[in-house]
């Protein structure tokens, strides 16, 4: 893998693995139209948003548990 976005992402996952990451999975839509570099760039964008604080806990507030 020699391209920039995927190399950048691989470096992040290497760092996360050192913190205990054992698995990572992705929900990718329209795989027919996707390229590896494009998807890597989007995952990098996700992590950049996390780093920038552009996130919130997701709670659907729909529990019916006793």
């Amino acid at each position: 893998m020699s391209t920039t976005h995927c190399t950048q992402l691989a470096n992040r996952f290497e760092a996360l693995a050192a913190e205990g990451l054992v698995d990572v999975k992705f929900f990718v839509r329209n795989l027919d139209e996707a390229t590896t570099e494009r998807v890597c760039s989007e995952v990098n964008a996700l992590y950049a948003a996390l780093d920038a604080g552009q996130h919130e806990l997701l709670d659907f507030k729909d529990s019916r548990r006793a």
Binding site: A10, V22, K25, F27, V28, L31, V39, L46, L57, D59
Partner: protein, 223 residues
């Protein structure tokens, strides 16, 4: 079907049955503790609790504000029992469909905790992405690679959890419109379309029948 990520993927039947069995365990776990066990839409928070309780994991669901064309969400699993599920905020211009997509993506990513075996694990996400894109199409009579099977099975498990078989069988009999079904179960239209495909219904019905869960008939039955 333009949004289908894994619609043509070939999955080993033993993995398929194993996935449905895990869905059954989670459904029964929720039903045991829920005040309204058969009410829909299915509670995402109760499903999360069931996965955490059965698999001894702590899951954080996080809504992330970023622009993307392909990535809907992702899941990170850590060796200390933590898991993060990231969901992209903007999935659809329609606010209701946007909510339904968030529900579906949350379940599809959380269910990896239940259905993936250690052989399916990899922290090397860039390589996983490369495999997903290189191998997502069906090759002649070859089972899909582990990464592809895992995604396909997670999607099917999310279908079964959010739109259970017993409701689908009833809805087919009543010929209810797609939009009203999506609103009733709070799932994207895509999920309703996929779940009610005759081929999928036959496969799911036969699998439920095989594992003595909610099976209502075999492969020769009507969808």
């Amino acid at each position: 079907m333009t949004d289908s990520s894994n619609g043509t993927t070939w999955v080993l039947s033993e993995k398929f049955e194993g996935t449905f069995e895990k869905v059954r365990v989670l459904q029964e776990h929720v039903r045991r503790y829920s005040l309204a066990p058969d009410q829909v839409p299915v509670s995402i928070e109760d499903l999360q609790w069931a996965i955490e309780d059965v698999y001894r994991m702590k899951i954080s669901k996080v809504l992330v504000d970023f622009d993307a064309e392909h990535i809907r969400g992702m899941m990170e699993r850590y060796s200390d029992g933590r898991a993060n599920v990231y969901v992209r905020s903007n999935q659809d211009a329609d606010p209701q469909q946007n909510l339904y997509w968030r529900r579906f993506i949350s379940v599809k990513e959380m269910i990896h905790i239940a259905i993936d075996e250690k052989d399916d694990f990899s922290p090397q996400g860039s390589e996983t992405i490369e495999e997903l894109i290189r191998n997502h199409t069906l090759e002649a009579l070859k089972p899909a690679k582990s990464e592809i099977q895992s995604e396909a099975l997670a999607e099917l498990a999310a279908f079964e959890l959010l739109y259970p078989m017993e409701f689908r069988a009833r809805d087919i009999a009543h010929s209810l419109p797609l939009g009203s079904l999506a609103a009733h179960y709070q799932v994207p239209n895509y999920v309703i379309e996929r779940c009610l495909e005759p081929g999928y219904m036959k496969m799911a019905r036969a699998t439920w029948n095989e594992i003595s869960g909610h099976g209502l008939g075999g492969l020769n039955s009507n969808p």
